[in-house]
Subunit: 365 residues, 2 copies
């Protein structure tokens, strides 16, 4: 494995919020954004944590990200809304829109907010999990830069378009699904690339659309495959799920969809003929007691989880996991032991810090 250096979550939070304030973000919004990024690092989704900070900064430098957005609700009904993110950080626009969904759920049982004119919002799970403390089921979807080919296509038409759904529990930890609609998340590919290992069949195709195990396939003009990998194994289902995420996030709000979604990387220019504004998200919140007494629901959730956790396993496997288990265990570990950053990531952060006069302090050895 590549060499790493350990940072506490406070180290990374402080650096991130200071840096975002330097590019013009108000303090409270910089704090919010730093929270989302560090949450990804804590939960082990390294590809969506502070390693992405420089990407946001470069988008800002290109004028493709607004550090002081006027986020507005442009249309609403008692249970729905469309929010215009004013080209702000998705890390800020997302929590704003999720809060609106939750407040609507408090009023009329459920709230659904589609967002346009936003940017990358970090990990989907952060936003869905905001609902938990309000005794709501939380839902969070986003579209993303095109990297994925629909079944039978050789073009990149969809992002990894994740789905997160967070469900409250009583004594058990919450149920948190957070998944890309591709066979494997992009972060897993990056790990293989660093290790110079092959990718399993079904993750990638080359630029002709043929299955490849070359983990660099994506760099060489190929694309990611939808969950399922090939038609025989249900890739049309992964494609359809990714499509629904795209439509709810962008066609419903007026953002760019499919191949028109602006690239996250600043060195690729967005499509000069956009079909909407920025990229899109979709958030939902349903109040548990809008259906059933909350305590009763949560007791049954505990029972559900305990039954599945107690399931008899296939030989060689230790236990059946509940969605959210791996990320939560990682969060517990990293909160105590620190967050390992790859040395090239540290180097990039330090350089960026020097440019803006912010020091990456390190409280751990």
């Amino acid at each position: 494995m590549a060499e790493v250096s350990l940072y506490s979550k406070e180290d990374l939070f402080r650096f991130t919020t200071q840096l975002l304030q330097k590019i013009g973000c108000p303090e409270s919004e910089a704090d919010q954004a730093a929270n989302v990024l560090v949450s990804a690092d804590l939960r082990g989704v390294d590809s969506h944590g502070v390693a992405r900070l420089s990407g946001y900064v470069r988008l800002h430098e290109k004028g493709r990200l607004n550090a002081r957005p006027q986020i507005k609700t442009v249309h609403e009904t008692p249970s729905t809304a469309v929010v215009d993110g004013d080209l702000g950080l998705g890390l800020v626009v997302g929590p704003h829109a999720m809060d609106l969904a939750i407040s609507k759920a408090k009023e009329v049982g459920s709230g659904w907010v589609s967002v346009k004119n936003s940017n990358h919002y970090g990990i989907a799970g952060y936003h869905a999990m905001k609902a938990l403390e309000h005794n709501c089921i939380g839902i969070s979807l986003t579209n993303a830069s095109p990297l994925v080919s629909p079944t039978f296509s050789k073009e990149r038409l969809l992002g990894t378009n994740p789905i997160s759904i967070a469900i409250p529990t009583k004594d058990q930890p919450p149920f948190v699904l957070d998944m890309a609609t591709t066979t494997a998340a992009n972060g897993k590919l990056e790990v293989l690339q660093r290790k110079r290992e092959d990718a399993p069949e079904g993750w990638l195709q080359d630029k002709e659309g043929n299955i490849t195990t070359d983990a660099k396939g994506l760099i060489n003009g190929g694309s990611m495959r939808p969950l399922g990998g090939d038609r025989e194994h249900g890739s049309h289902k992964g494609y359809a799920l990714g499509a629904v995420v795209d439509i709810l996030s962008a066609v419903l709000s007026g953002a760019n969809y499919g191949p028109w979604v602006p690239p996250f990387v600043a060195f690729i220019e967005p499509n000069p003929n956009p079909v909407g504004e920025g990229l899109g998200h979709f958030f939902g919140a349903m109040r548990i007691d809008a259906f059933r007494e909350a305590d009763e629901f949560k007791s049954h959730m505990d029972n559900w989880i305990e039954r599945f956790r107690a399931s008899e396993t296939v030989e060689g496997e230790e236990k059946v996991l509940i969605p959210g288990d791996p990320e939560r265990e990682m969060e517990e570990q990293r909160s105590k032991e620190g967050i390992p950053l790859l040395l090239p990531v540290v180097e990039e952060l330090v350089q960026m810090g020097e440019k803006f006069g912010v020091t990456l302090e390190k409280s751990l050895n």
Copy 2:
């Protein structure tokens, strides 16, 4: 292929509604149920069409299905409700609950209805598609008899728990996702069993939890695998999606969930210690113009579909499909040419008809 006999949709509708009236269903409900079943046959989901009629009748004979249910809304808010199906046909309870979701969407922008104490509701897509004519996005989920093992488990803890999402369009046909959360639907397995062919790896595991290609694996104590097939190919995602369907359908409504879901086949007794009532569904409707002007949305949906349909294909593949294409093409064909029923299915229907004094008429040659 096994021999088939062709029936018109009117032949099958008439037989089904008459037979359901014989077991006590009111005429309007028998008509509704017949519509759902024949719709499955038309759309090519033969496993969920009139071939299942005898299964419903046997459940009724066992006292596990109520032909004259008093369907009740037991809890509600402006945008949510829980419906008690009074152990009625899911084919009747489902449309009732979906109508409630649509009427709530008309009032407050969206409607979400979780259902308990129901039975098998046919194809998920029928219910989601009801939303289309109301300019709503429709969502339909249901849990089902346990046949699926979570990743790493060798127990059957989940049903094939389908997801359907129907989205309105302008000139293009609607976008209709309708998928089991398993690698392959049970109906596809039945086809392989009849042809005495093997199943692809990733569809099934044997009773020890090892991958098997024996299409009879399910009959021999094995189980179906979640979408993804194995961990490396994302089966934990298919498992998590199936889990969410189970939770929204049953933990939220008070129905049975997971391994407690009552079996569809009458010869297997339900768990003597249920955790809820009957099985559960979940329906949603979102009014398009609760987000954005409906015509604008639909024009962009057409643009989305046209762009994806025009995508450059992998060599050897004719076109990129839009979710709903195969079922719609099948429906057009079978509406004209008739619905092919396997001879054993015809035989069973005829025998059942004789028992209840209903004739299966055949208007096609």
